[in-house]
Amino acid sequence: MNFHSSIPAFVILSLVLIACASNPVQTGQGRKLAFDRNKGNCLACHVIADGESPGNIGPPLQALSKRFRDQQQLRDFIYDARQNNPETSMPPFGANHILTDAELQQVVDYLWDLP
């Protein structure tokens, strides 16, 4: 994978947000967004933890904190997966305003802590 590099301001921002990740209210919200058919609906394509009836178009979402350099890089991926693979089947959640910036961050918070 060739991710585009993040700029320092975002690194600081993501450090702040990593601190928020330990907040259970935030992660609960991120889980809800990831499972909700009218929001992230990530389960349509990905196995995620205990989510019911997942599809299999994308890989299982697990151990992402080991696969991505930092939260910002994960967020960028979800924001627009076309940056990484122009032929991707994954919708550009940020670029096409399917999730707001705040919602995107909540999803990232949730996913980051998954084993």
Binding site: C45, G55, I57, R82, E87, S89, P91, N96, I98
Partner: protein, 271 residues
């Protein structure tokens, strides 16, 4: 020298695959993906590749919910118009659903079966039916039933560049990403055919035009191919287009040509 001239000539030609080339490369792709399927197997849609869904479908087919529609369609076929003529005057053989959609050189457009049905009504001083009207769907159910087993005969005539243009527009529509979710038809039914989106297995597109009209359990009634198109478009949050719009007819034309030679199974039942 000759080779160079040939090369220059080839470069000058538009690099667009012919419909037949498209058809054979798409079939090669599916052959790799589903080596167990023969061309005729694609007539069963998703049930050709999803054994669990197939077993509940087979059970439903024992008491097909579309049967009354075939009977009502037949009754309409044999009922006289106000001017004393019959549908049968337009369609001496009702078993011709496999020949639609077809290119009309004189009209310069793709004619679908629902359009041909309305053209017959208008020719006999009857008002055209809306494309969702139950009579319209029942007529198609009867004609499809009489066409069962006949193979899709849609062709792209080589002597009319307008026909090729309509085909190319349909093809472009199929591969164009659209909607908030940024999917094309091909993203789901070609690129990811056989995979699951939630619990739904994605069917290959070959044969997608051969089973209409379809009684969908979700609809609780018989519906048209273009209604199904609209639903797939809505799923990806794209603008659904009206039934029988030029765009959707050209789309159907492209899809039917890809499925040329696959037997008709309409009317059918789907989840």
């Amino acid at each position: 020298m000759f080779a160079l001239a040939l090369l220059l000539l080839m470069m000058a030609l538009p690099v667009q695959a012919s419909p037949l080339q498209d058809q054979s490369s798409l079939r090669d792709y599916y052959q790799q993906r589903f080596p167990q399927l023969s061309l005729a197997d694609y007539r069963q849609g998703v049930y050709a590749i999803d054994a669990i869904a197939r077993s509940s479908w087979t059970a439903i087919e024992e008491f097909p919910p579309y049967e009354p529609a075939i009977e009502q369609g037949e009754a309409l076929f044999t009922k006289a118009f106000n001017n004393g003529s019959y549908f049968a005057d337009c369609f001496p053989d009702p078993g011709i659903a496999n020949r639609y959609p077809q290119w009309s050189k004189s009209q310069g457009e793709v004619i679908s079966l629902p359009m041909a049905i309305n053209a017959c009504r208008v020719a006999h001083q009857q008002p055209p039916l809306s494309y969702q009207h139950s009579d319209m769907l029942n007529m198609q159910a009867f004609m499809a039933y009489r066409s069962r087993g006949k193979t899709i005969a849609t062709d792209i005539p080589g002597d009319d560049p307008q026909a090729l243009a309509a085909y190319q527009q349909g093809k472009a529509f199929y591969y164009q990403r659209r909607g908030q979710l940024n999917f094309s038809c091909a993203t789901c039914h070609i690129q990811n055919a056989g995979k699951r989106i939630r619990t739904e297995t994605l069917s290959p597109m070959l044969g997608h035009t051969n089973n209409w009209p379809t009684y969908r359990l979700k609809w609780g009634e018989l519906g048209s191919l273009h209604r199904r198109f609209a639903e797939c478009l809505e799923q990806i949050r794209a603008n659904p287009l009206p039934e029988q719009s030029v765009e959707l007819r050209n789309l159907e034309y492209f899809m039917s040509f890809m499925g040329q030679g696959i037997p008709l199974t309409g009317p059918s039942v789907r989840k």
